[in-house]
Amino acid sequence: MDARRTVEAVWRMHSARLVAALTRLVHDVGLAEDFAQDAYLAALEQWPREGVPDQPAGWLLTTARRRAIDMIRREKLQDQKYALLAADDGGGTGTDSELLSLVFVACHPVLSQESRAALTLRLVGGLSTEEIARAFLVPPATIGQRISRAKRTLAEAEVPFAVPDPDELPARLSAVLEVVYLIFTEGHSATSGDRWIRRDLAERAMRLGRMLAGLMPTEPEVYGLVALMELQASRFAARTGPGGHPVLLEDQDRGRWDRTLIAHGLGALSRARGLRKPLGPYTVQAAIAACHARAPRFADTDWTAILALYDALTQLAPSPVVRLNRVVAVLHVDGPQAALDAVDELRDDPRLGRYHLFGAVRGDLLLRLGRFAEAADELERAAGLAPTRQERTLLMERAAAATR
């Protein structure tokens, strides 16, 4: 076994708490990360020669602290706070509270959504610039700049290294969960290019979600998000056919669904509900995913329950996408005409104008009602808007089949 891969594994395991502990000491997240990186490079150089230390996390922290102390001495900083650094016996790597603070800082509202995602993957996920760049399909230089700018913004805004106050917490937590889900959906279905699923990124997001759930066990939406991600991820293997084309839910081989992920996801959903607090949108979406997970075959799906959940979701998070997904539930409960009426209510929403699934759903409904020519038109238009080659092909095939 390769020492380099061990260094990377140890880094991946401990970097977040390492950066968190260093931030407590040097009061600057950017600096903390630099020192942590120094320690990582030192490990890469020394461990292959000297063997992996018994306490790898402690070694990294001690090394990083030494660099930090050197810098403080060099810059002759007189601040009382920094004098404490020399007295600190190092302790362990970051506490739960420090790790949480790091997460909240990385997802601070002063940063753009993409900066939050990049910074979270870097500071909390321990990913390198190259890895993050590959994840978001942009050049490494772009990510490098994004991260540097984000660190500067945080320093200039003097963002405190702390868990938000209870009155701010709901909004701040919401921002964190959004970032995690954004990372998941990047991995769950590519928004551009030909690749439909990027597993590693989705797994990274699930890991972040579970970590958050462990740190905030009284927040139902965190468990809700974990449940949602795991239930969606459980279907990865079944979602693509041999040619790489997408397989719809109704056609998926449920034997290929990952039962361990389903079990864990259903467990997380249970915990969310068991907290007896008002349910949030992620939890409700997870409950919908759970209805699918529990159905042995598509025909066994409890659409009435799903429709009720969509009604609840429409109250909590009334986006046109949610209302469109609700239409599919209406189809299965009340039939295609009722569903067509429901989808036509959405026609004027400009946000759906460029959304390919709107046309896909409407086209499908028209097919079921025997209005084949209109269906073909709708499906062709949707194909033109599809973001991936595979989805485009699928929609064009269905359009062609409509008029055969």
């Binding site: 395991m13 970590m211 958050l212």
Partner: protein
Amino acid sequence: MIKGTGADEDKVAPTREMLTIMGEYNDKLIKAGILLDAAGLRPSSEAKQVVLEGGTTSVVDGPFTESKEIVAGYWIWQVDSMEEAVEWARQCPIDPLLGRGLLEIRPYWDETQIEALPA
């Protein structure tokens, strides 16, 4: 999976203290976001073995005192690499009465490996 030998099984019956220590370890795994499942298994005195051989089956009742390895529990982890799994395993607490611990790490088959199997 943790293993002790069949002969040692009486010695390593879990104590409250050991359960607490193991609970702290599991807590670390949970907070790292890698734990998907975990369970302790009851002693082999409550177990049975089913042996399939030469077209027949037979059932053997525990305890399995002759056994070199008794599986005492298991975890299911989601980690990035075998190296990472090893590092987490290295942190597992051991029972002081036994003085040693053994974890065997087994990766799952993935889709591409299954597809690559000869017919």
